[in-house]
């Protein structure tokens, strides 16, 4: 109950901040040329390397694999066919990001779930009554402050590429605990410890929409998929979207407000139903999800070939994930790949092959420097840790 209310407050605060910040950021982003676009994407990938917390060579491999897979098909500038594996003509149409995303997040995720749950359902018997919900409503004053903290932190952390809901939730929990009058009760039943991260993870979801809509850079795999969906519908997320399709942008923002209200109502009213769905045995839930994955991919492309690619990607993604290869950067790279290649090549063509074009313009220089800083951040961290350890042994 507290989680649902905190999520609602976090979502609402985040949408208000989004409405305030999106138009000025879009106006600022109108100054961007291909150099700035490419540098910004470089920054997004660097964030995954520096702050993702995963194995660095594996993260780099994952990003590069996504970028290469996005290049399958005809070259966007010369029109030459490339990466046509085994001379199969089906590859000429490229590999759609939806095929890869459903393979990784549909098939791969389901296989992962089967492994982690062993097909067993872990569900506690939860009894929810109106009287209990009313009682919980009255406790809102106990956790409202930590909800505000979570809402603001969640939004700003969510706007950072690769940061997402989990770091936002952890940061807000830590901060809320720091400023609490009773920090020792956190983790021992203090409801503020639930409200702060719940507000933050919901606020971060909206926050991650900000760079996607205004700059065309998705901050998370979810927004990457949204971006791909918009491209399919002929929209190009970025600063011009606010000028070219204001009806769509403001309609979308308006829908966020509505969605937030509908979500809290559904959350509160349908908790018992959701619990029932989650309690479905895997022998019923799994085949339904698999069927929807297979037919969803087929319906998008009308090709059986893509369903085979989906299965292959799903199984390979699962096997790689078991060895700590992160999959989220690959999905982001698949979506951003064509945009990144086009902006890089446009930049180089306009500068006659002068690679310094990326560091002679102030915005792109800032992004490149930030990207370098982020990439070297783990090294700096390791060096600092070693020095501290050495100092401690002395």
């Amino acid at each position: 109950m507290a989680a649902a209310i905190a999520s609602f407050i976090g979502g609402t605060v985040s949408i208000i901040l989004f409405t305030m910040f999106a138009p000025p950021l879009a106006v600022f982003a109108l100054k961007f040329g291909p150099q700035e676009e490419f540098a910004l994407m470089l920054l997004a990938f660097a964030t995954f390397i520096g702050l993702g917390g995963d194995d660095i060579p594996k993260t780099i491999f994952s990003i590069l694999l996504g970028l290469v897979l996005a290049a399958v098909g005809f070259d966007i500038i010369s029109g030459q066919p490339r990466m046509i594996f085994f001379d199969m003509v089906e590859f000429q149409r490229g590999i759609g990001f939806l095929v890869l995303a459903i393979g990784i997040y549909g098939i791969g995720e389901m296989l992962w779930t089967l492994e982690s749950t062993k097909g067993q359902i872990k569900m506690h018997n939860v009894k929810i009554t109106w009287a209990r919900m009313k009682e919980n409503f009255g406790e809102i004053g106990q956790y409202i402050n930590s909800t505000w903290v979570g809402s603001f932190i969640g939004f700003f952390v969510g706007t950072l590429p690769a940061a997402g809901a989990t770091p936002a939730a952890l940061m807000s929990y830590g901060l809320s605990k720091t400023f609490s009058k009773d920090p020792d009760s956190y983790g021992k039943g203090n409801i503020s410890g639930v409200a702060a991260p719940e507000a933050a993870n919901n606020a971060a979801s909206t926050g991650s929409m900000l760079p996607m809509l205004t700059l065309g850079i998705p901050g998370s795999p979810t927004t990457a998929i949204l971006l791909g969906g918009m491209i399919i519908w002929g929209l190009r997320p970025g600063p011009l979207l606010f000028q070219e399709s204001p009806d769509f942008v403001w309609g979308l923002i308006g829908s966020m407000y509505v969605a937030n209200v509908v979500t809290v109502l559904l959350n509160l009213a349908l908790i018992p139903v959701f619990i029932r769905v989650l309690a479905m045995p895997f022998t019923l839930l799994t085949p339904i999800i698999f069927v929807l994955c297979v037919l969803g991919v087929f319906a998008t492309t009308d090709r059986m070939f893509d369903t085979w690619i989906m299965l292959f990607i799903g199984v390979v993604g699962y096997l790689m994930r078991k060895l700590n290869y992160p999959v989220a950067p690959a999905v982001l790279a698949i979506v951003l790949g064509p945009l990144a290649e086009r902006s890089m090549r446009q930049s180089l063509i306009s500068s006659q092959g002068d690679i310094t074009t990326f560091v002679t313009r102030p915005i792109s220089l800032t992004c490149v420097l930030l990207a370098l800083l982020l990439v070297s951040y783990p090294l700096i961290q390791r060096y600092t840790r070693k020095r501290k350890a050495a100092a401690a042994t002395e």
Binding site: D55, I56, P57, K58, I60, F61, L64, L65, L67, V68, A71, D75, I77, S78, Q80, P81, R82, M83, I84, F85, I107, M110, L111, L114, E115, K118, G119, P281, T283, L284, T286, P287, I288, F290, V291, V294, L295, F298, A299, D302, M304, T307, W308, L311, G314, V315, Y318, L319, M320, K322, L323, N324, Y325, E341, M344, R345, L348, I349, G353
Partner: protein, 174 residues
């Protein structure tokens, strides 16, 4: 197979894949340098990124050799027998579904697929099994073919022709 061995094999496979991608660009005769009057060649992006993948794979192999990653020090089983059964059977059934869709069509394939999961694997009651085996194709037909107007694969001509009466009935009466 241990996690340690799996990481080594994965490192080798990713390295070979990266080299294969580079070879693919070269074999297609794509330029990987600057083309006068046209800018970067069509092979620049995939070739140099594949080289990056190869270097990342080498780094992973080096880290495996030095035992820097938790996986390279783990002697636990990469996939235990229970997981292998569950994951293997799920992946195999999707494989079988795709094969069946090609030959006997989506709807018959769905019936076999659901029967396998619900009755054989889940050991649910015959009533539940019948509900899923019959209900799933109907739901899919209504969702994809009626609502989304997507023509799903009907398999070999003999199966496709056998299915046409449903479409005829639908177009004639609805």
């Amino acid at each position: 197979m241990t996690v340690r061995t799996a990481e080594l094999l994965m490192g080798i496979v990713t390295l070979l894949v990266s080299l294969g991608l580079m070879w693919n660009v070269w074999a297609d005769g794509l330029r990987i340098d600057w083309v006068d009057g046209r800018g970067p060649g069509a092979g620049v992006w995939p070739f140099w990124l594949s080289l990056g993948m190869a270097l990342a794979s080498l780094a992973t192999l080096y880290r495996w050799y030095t035992g820097a990653t938790p996986e390279s020090r783990s002697d636990a089983a990469y996939i235990d027998s229970d997981t292998l059964f569950l994951v293997g059977i799920a992946a195999f059934m999707i494989f079988a579904l795709l094969v069946m869709m090609t030959y006997i069509g989506t709807y018959l394939a769905l019936m076999v697929f659901m029967f396998f999961f619900v009755r054989l694997l889940g050991k649910h009651s015959w009533g539940m099994t019948a509900g899923f085996v019959i209900g799933t194709p109907i739901f899919i037909y209504l969702l994809f073919e009626v609502a989304l107007t997507k023509y799903l694969p009907k398999g070999l001509p003999i199966f496709e022709e056998g299915f046409l009466w449903i479409d005829n009935f639908r177009y004639e009466w609805f």
